[in-house]
């Protein structure tokens, strides 16, 4: 019964992780539901939401994977200290995370222009993405490293922690900061 044993072991291993991701996703959904009203103020806002959320996973999933491999190989230590590898990996994630946020604002605006759909101004999209992207970067990098380090010291395999941490933190903080950025931009842009 190789099939049953194999599938049961994958199921048992992955279900708690997906359960945590589901809770994060539902919380993010409640925030998104509250944001739908703001779409009238910033037409086209909804285009950015899935792109912004997916990108959080891509940037910080890569950082987490790198840190996990580094810990396994003994290249970095599980502490916050001035280590050249750790600093470089963190700086690269900031650059990637904030840089891609600006790109998302621009391509969203371009896509709406090409489709001829109603759209907010380019500076409004970029401003929202810049605020949300920067705040999410800070919280996700600090949160991800703290949890991986703490988990590693407690004996958990960091490879198994990265996915669920990134999805859950990314969904929750990504949406909260997106809502915050939309509110700030609504005040700034009048």
């Amino acid at each position: 019964m190789v099939v049953r044993r194999e599938s049961w072991s994958i199921y048992r291993e992955a279900l708690p992780i997906l359960g945590i991701a589901l809770l994060g996703g539902l919380f993010a959904g409640v925030v998104l539901e509250g944001m739908v009203e703001q779409v009238r103020r910033f037409p086209g806002l909804l285009v950015m939401v899935p792109v912004f959320l997916a990108t959080r996973g891509n940037v910080y999933g890569a950082l987490g994977g790198r840190i996990a491999s580094g810990l396994h190989q003994g290249l970095i230590e599980p502490h916050f200290r001035w280590d050249e590898r750790l600093v470089n990996a963190v700086v690269a994630s900031f650059v990637n995370g904030i840089g891609i946020s600006i790109v998302i604002g621009v391509i969203t605006w371009l896509a709406l222009a090409i489709l001829g759909w109603d759209s907010a101004h380019l500076f409004e999209f970029v401003g929202i993405m810049l605020i949300a992207g920067t705040l999410t970067s800070v919280v996700l990098i600090l949160g991800l490293l703290s949890i991986i380090f703490a988990g590693y010291k407690l004996g958990y395999d960091p490879d198994n922690l990265v996915g669920p941490i990134v999805t859950t933190l990314g969904d929750i903080f990504g949406m909260v900061f997106l809502l915050f950025a939309v509110t700030v931009m609504g005040v700034l842009a009048g």
């Binding site: 997906l18 991701a21 998104l32 899935p50 891509n58 790198r66 690269a92």
Partner: protein, 192 residues
Amino acid sequence: MIPAQTGDLGTWEARSIVRTMFPLLVVLSIIVLAAGITLESAEAMIEQYGILAVMVPTMVDMGGNLGAIMSSRLSSRLHLGTVSFDPRDPILLGNIIAVLALAASVFTALAFGAYAIGAVLGIGLALSTLLVISLVSGMSVAVVAIVCSIVTTYLSYRAGIDPDDTTIPIVTNVVDVFGMVIFIGVSWLVLF
């Protein structure tokens, strides 16, 4: 014994990480833009049925999560040299069954979660409607995730590319787009 050189960070240098990753991030964002456009086009339906917005982040992420589980297992076996693409292979079959079972559990839980939240916020739909929307779109996405993972792992195996580097992020993001398109399509069919 070679002394450690401070300047020799190799692949850990920030500039090198950004240079290799940023172009991929731009490609992935353009792919997922399709999901955003789908969501925007359904704005009227989402304003009418707010509970759909509550389900959106999970629908977008979960397909990618299932694809990631499938792909990373296939690619680990590829590295170990034990991969087989024969549909009768018991390990491959075990993976497929596990992903389908995970999808059935998670998307059932999503319907119940959305039902409870809808009841609290006063934007609810009937539990049976939510179960139909969540399970029909969720199981379809799971099938897409399975097919995409097997095909891309096979193609990168044939092309000699390490699937960990590029194909897994591409699979998870492509599956995210399918998640959104299928969810909006199924919701529309059920509600209108």
